[in-house]
């Protein structure tokens, strides 16, 4: 049994959200660079250059990468031999979000769905906790912006539609999203499971570093094929026309009911922010 004080969780969550919002991962910086080499549209090249400069400036000036600093999504892998002391785990995460958004000068974007009244501190966070073997806690902070989340879709397809049907839905989602999710995007696809599981898998798929191949060679082939088809749509950086509409497609597959074929498509903008800590 290992004790972890909730204070440590608070300060870690706070730090992760501030860092995630100001420091883009190396995988994204590399992806911009290789996108720039492939982009033929001069406007598209200009945008990609701006995005690289933006990432540099955000890190240097600590001004967020994007003003939409997102709802605070938190994935926790909690070792079953960990004992959180000094308070509740969820309360600690919420407090970390509160402090991070206040002290990091991040925008508070959580509001009531109808009255639109802002909650004022960007809580509640969106928290997913998995219990895993061991005595560590892994925390992944994912600020998720509204523009790309709004373009995400879920479908309960008929099993007969198969791979082809799923691919069509992915292409349709990207086409209809056009410029709105701030391309170049990353497309998370959750296939199978139940209705809500498909959506969660799609979001989790986005956590894989861009450029890291899918461990399953068959799925890896699909990811590459779908990415190529997406990039034939011509939408381009910011939707202003070009070769690079998406940087990567990430697929997660789960077994599903014999009567179903759920597919969820979670669109992630180029502000693909996440930071991990292990306690």
């Amino acid at each position: 049994m290992k004790d972890i004080h909730c204070q440590e969780i608070i300060s870690t969550v706070k730090r992760l959200f501030i860092e995630a919002n100001t420091e883009l991962g190396q995988d994204m910086l590399d992806a911009f660079k290789s996108a720039l080499a492939k982009e033929e549209s001069p406007v598209g090249q200009d945008i990609l250059n701006q995005l690289m400069e933006n990432a540099r400036l955000a890190k240097e000036t600590k001004v967020p990468i994007c003003q939409d600093t997102g709802l605070a999504v938190v994935f926790v892998e909690l070792g079953q031999d960990v004992h959180v002391v000094g308070g509740g785990l969820k309360d600690a995460i919420e407090e970390g979000v509160r402090q991070g958004y206040r002290e990091g000068y991040l925008r508070k974007s959580a509001c009531h769905p109808f009255t639109r009244k802002n909650t004022g501190d960007n809580t509640p966070a969106v928290i997913y906790i998995d219990v895993v073997p061991g005595e560590q806690v892994k925390i992944i902070a994912v600020p998720k912006g509204g523009g790309s989340e709004n373009m995400s879709r879920i479908y309960m397809l008929s099993p007969a539609m198969g791979i082809k049907g799923v691919k069509e839905k992915v292409l349709e989602t990207v086409r209809e999203a056009g410029p709105n999710p701030c391309p170049p995007t990353i497309i998370g696809v959750g296939i199978g499971g139940t209705f809500e599981q498909a959506a969660l898998q799609a979001k989790k798929a986005l956590l894989r570093p861009v450029g890291e191949p899918n461990p399953d060679p068959e799925i890896d082939r699909l990811e590459r094929e779908w990415l190529e088809e997406i990039n034939r749509l011509g939408i381009g950086p910011q939707g202003l026309g070009g070769r690079i509409t998406s940087l990567s497609v990430h697929i997660h597959i789960l077994p599903c009911h014999i009567a179903s074929l759920p597919v969820a498509i979670n669109v992630q903008c180029h502000a693909n922010r996440h930071k991990v800590a292990v306690l």
């Binding site: 990468i65 003003q67 903008c269």
Partner: protein, 184 residues
């Protein structure tokens, strides 16, 4: 990319009619921010024939909800928000003199028609380039509707704010035409 222009606000008719989709513009001068709630209030005032908190003639409206200013800076991250939410209000503001809008995402047919009729343009700023755009904003202050919080009207003094012409006064649309050009 088309031509590169440096323009000073307020914009005159001759400033905008020469612009074509794909042109890059570095904007300097004053721009005003407004999102849905502020638009609604402006339109209400226009309908009641009351005076507005800002003059509209030649002005540029930036659709943005910035993040809070860290110490020592005029503003936080300040990239564009999606423009379609302002579409119901934009034609009236265009008819009352605004020459430019800055945002991201497609505009409605009505907005495009109003731009052609009254000679105004729609600029795209790079969505998600919040830190980069923040550098172009040298002064920032709320000038109306403070009660709307992040949706208040701000006055930004900008220098070389980088934008791209997405809809010009000829009715062209870079989202449509750009995509067509690169579709395989």
């Amino acid at each position: 990319m088309g031509n590169i222009y440096r323009l000073e606000t307020p914009l005159k008719e001759e400033d905008v009619v020469k612009l074509r989709i794909g042109d890059k513009v570095l904007l300097s001068g004053i721009v005003y921010t407004a999102r849905d709630a502020a638009h609604k209030r402006l339109i209400d005032l226009i309908e009641k024939n009351e005076s507005l908190p800002i003059g509209l003639e030649g002005q540029v409206i930036y659709y943005v909800g910035p993040s809070p200013a860290p110490p020592g800076r005029p503003i936080g991250a300040a990239g564009p928000t999606t423009s379609y939410r302002m579409d119901p209000y934009a034609p009236t503001l265009i008819a009352h003199g605004i020459r430019g809008m800055i945002g991201k995402g497609k505009r409605s047919k009505e907005v495009v028609e109003a731009m052609v009729k009254h000679k105004a343009v729609y600029f795209g700023a790079t969505g998600g380039a919040g830190a980069l755009i923040s550098q172009s904003i040298r002064e920032a202050g709320i000038i109306a509707y403070e009660d709307l919080g992040p949706e208040a009207i701000w006055r930004f003094k900008v220098v070389d704010l980088p934008v791209i012409v997405v809809n010009d006064t000829m009715g062209n649309d870079l989202y449509e035409q750009g995509k067509e050009r690169f579709r395989i």
